[in-house]
Amino acid sequence: MTVGYAAPPVARRSSSSYLRRLDWALFGSALALSVIGSLLVWSATQGKLLEQGLDPQSFLKKNLFNLVVGIAFAVLVSRFDYRLLRAYTPILWGLSILGLLFVLVHGSRINGAKAWIALPAGLNLQPAEFAKIAIILGMAMILSEKRDAENEPRDVDVAFALGVAAVPMVLILVQPDLGTVMVIATIVFGIIAVSGARARWLVGILAGGILVAFVAIQVGILKQYQLDRLTAFTDPNVNTRTSGYNTQQARIAIGSGGMFGTGLFHGPQTQGHFVPENQTDFVYSVAGEELGFVGAALIIVLLGIILWRAIVIALRASDLFGRLVATGVATWIAFQSFENIGMNLGIMPVTGVPLPFVSYGGTSMFASWLAIGLLINVHLRARE
């Protein structure tokens, strides 16, 4: 692998070339997931909305709007000048820190966490989602600024990169949004691993993570409901009305879907509102019930295609920055998907992270598509 290959500036490329070189498998999978997600959100919400005398399509419309905005973001980011992106990274990082600080002071509390900035027109923004991107870009920038002939990041850089990640992580932990922190921790680990940092860093981070988790539980930083949610998945039958209820109902919904599902809009569990949050965190249960194994597995397959493309893009990236960005995106989507679907399937604790592209939620949709934009950007500058 050679170092120092400089990508040609994007701006000079023609539109037709952009479309020709676009990773259509990646883009298509993300779009397919988003469309399936929109249908699921529609199915999950129309009954409730109808009962409340509201427009039964309002969530669908909002979701489609979010999708369009997300794709626009992705296109914008993919065409952004690579070097400019690196230059703007510190600013992005700073903005995300400001956003996180802002929610702690003025944020609105949803489901126990102060994680949202309420915007006019009923929109809510979740700075933590953008923080993921800021962290990926920040760490990639620091870890790829190596001196010549060095194959691995210096310890100073690794420490600095960890610091860049640690600040937003602490702020998110305070909200508290444990799920996002876990996702970011995985991203951090993935980026540092792929950056070529010495193995002792990886061992150290793992050990440190375990230690922090242990202390957090002992000292009581974790709230009881968080502990309950974390432990509920091990025995979801314990308390069907509280912690384990969501996962149990979600599993009943998925299990009752069978091979081909009950059909969209026809899932008794979904339409009877037995699964709470079933347009956001538990949207996968709607897929399981109404689309069956075929539909639910398709979602995993589509995610798999995105991840496969992300890994390939990382491998073929023209420089370490690009590779680390792609790696960050891959670990992010991989772990967050696993976290979310695993929670629906009862094999992961309930932590409240959305399923990328599929769950309802503007910020999640924007962030997911920004991630796609980053991948496309890296891909467009990859070695042929």
């Binding site: 194959n151 299990g255 995993i300």
Partner: protein, 785 residues
Amino acid sequence: MSERSSLRLAVLGVLIVSLLVTMIGRLFFLQVVSADVYTQKASANQYRYVVTPATRGLILDQLGRPLVSNRTSLVVSVDRTVLAKQKDKGVAVLARLAKALHTTPTAISYRLEICGQGAHEKPPICWNGSQYQPIPVAKDIPQDLALTIMEKRSDYPGVTAGLEAVRVYPGLDGVNAAHLLGYLGPVSDTELAAQKKQQEAGAATSTETQLQRTDLVGRSGLEAEYDAQLRGVPGVKKLVVDQAANVVGTVGETQSTPGDYLVTNIDAKLQAVVEQQLYAAILRARSQIDKNTGTHYKGDSGAAVVMDVTNGHVLAMASYPSYDPSVWVGGITKTEYSKLTSPASNYPLISRAMQGQFVPASTWKIVTASAALQDGYTATQTYKCPSYIMVGNRKFSNFEGEAPGDVDLAKGLAVSCDTMWYQVAYDMWLRDGGNKPIAKPKDPIETMAKAFGYGRRTGIDLPSESRGRVGGRAFKTALNAQLHDAWCRRATTGYPEVAKTDPNRAAYLKALAVENCADGGVFRGGDSVNLAIGQGDTVVTPLQVATAYSALANGGTIWQPQVAKGLVASDGKVVSVFKPKKTGTLPVPKADMAFLRMAFSEVTSKPYGTGYNPFRGFPLDRLPVAAKTGTGQAAGNQQSTSWFATFAPATKPKYAVVMMVSQGGTGAGTSAPSVRKIYEALYGITGSTIDPAKSVLVGGAPATKLPTVRADGTPVYPGMPTTVQIAKPAGASPAATATSGSGPTPGPTSTGFLAAPLLLGGGLLGRRARRRRRPRAPDVRLWSS
């Protein structure tokens, strides 16, 4: 970019693939492998049923008079889920409520316990319904208290007061009929389990006809026998419930259909007369001195049956001791229940008329005489009637050692000679081979007894009827098969436990055992003699006697006794009319039966007849009464059983009247005067004049048609009050078997209650008007369930 970086990226790729595979695998397990489990769970999950119990059908007498009706009761119910949400778990509320109801908070909280979870008592002390359902804790509360509870919502969160339909026994003309009517009790776990099993086996039980946990079912009498028809079909509202158990929608709703009205053959006025006359006979017995013991007769129990001999209709049936059937309404208390089941009260729950078994004594001679006529004996031949005869080394005497000398058959029956029948039966026994019976013994008396319906259930439409027993050869064989081994064991071991206190008795018992071991199954001469006059091992129910005498009266048809006459829907449409059911024919020639009817009529008409005195002055010339007295020697140190079995008019019989008083003295002395009174009531007899207009039966005879029930459910009957509504109560209140665990229950309880005063004071409320109000009815249910 280093090799290490690429390698690690590859590892990351592998990790990601493993995550994806894990998810697919788990998904496959959930959706394909164990899909059935979750499908089942899902279907159990989302529906709750709110059941509106159907109004139970009334039970009417033959003219439409209500024997069992419904009334509304103000009931207080407590919702546990609301209490649990109070800061103090509802302690203060319960304390307030207890004070208002003049009880203790502990007593109320017992009622709120779910049965089976360490509960203190059986229902109604604990609750056997759903925990999501408001639990009734008090019935028949004053109206002002109900108003207070519904107005001061903040003082009584989770407490509601509302109207509920409960059984009521109008007791017109003082009628009791407890044994006929029966009572209701909560559905049992066994029944629910059986129902579930049936459903799982695929039997088509729709939700509508299912028993609910809180249902009341008939537990005895007509309420039990015709439970399915009386119960009706509850209305079921199928609700979709979300994860917080909030009702989010209604999927389906069926209206409740009130149960059918059961029209009986019972005439309330006649039943009342029969009950009074039975009690009069009991008192008569108690006023007499038993010459054998020198004490008053105990008259511990008794029964009387009036039957239409032409079709088996039971017009009246009484049993003493009785009880007030309303003690069961709203759940019987422990004290009340132990009263009904204690030996001191002499088990008033048992209907002596069809469950009590007594030695038939001389009433049995209807069998013996028929058998003799079939076996070659004639009516006109001379029978010897000495004061006693010897059978083997045992002396068998006439009643009180009388010796009327030579008699013919009619006179023998009239004077109730025993010894002539001893001889007849003994001769029959000898012809059958005596102690070494021939291959196919004729056993004329035993065969005739079975033809008369003795030794088997009459098949009356009431539950738990007794069989009785014919103490003949078959019985001895069966008894021997059962006890032979025990007898032989005792023959060697003796009775050491008895010997400790009474060596003489032990020796006697051992000797008996030795004898029985040797030939206990043998039908002996003494047994045949006992069988001839209805003593010894033979026992019968008063209902069997009435059926047998009816058969002789009507010319040989054994009708199945029938209490119910038909069913009428609550809107007045006739559902069904029960036809008389023939269960046998007497193998007796018409001429013999005519002779016997004449002979029995001489019991009352001839001065030497045992029933002559009690019927002195009765217009027997116009209304000949065929009768047979009976004075049974019961086993042990019991006093004799008084019987009087009759039918009339002897020339063209219509009614059979049978009365029995246990430990009551002679048939003529105790029962006969009361039977006479019953005939006087039936025919409107004053002194010696007969006036059908004065009969307790309107029109002088049982009605041939079913009574009218108006479309609004009010039965029409002679002498009915014109202003008071007796029939149906205000629909039934919807009760949730499993409503939402939290939040307001469907149906505004407060507005529901506001309708209550209207209903309470409401005269004849049309059914339509009531139906409109039904949805607003309070959401409570009887704790008696």
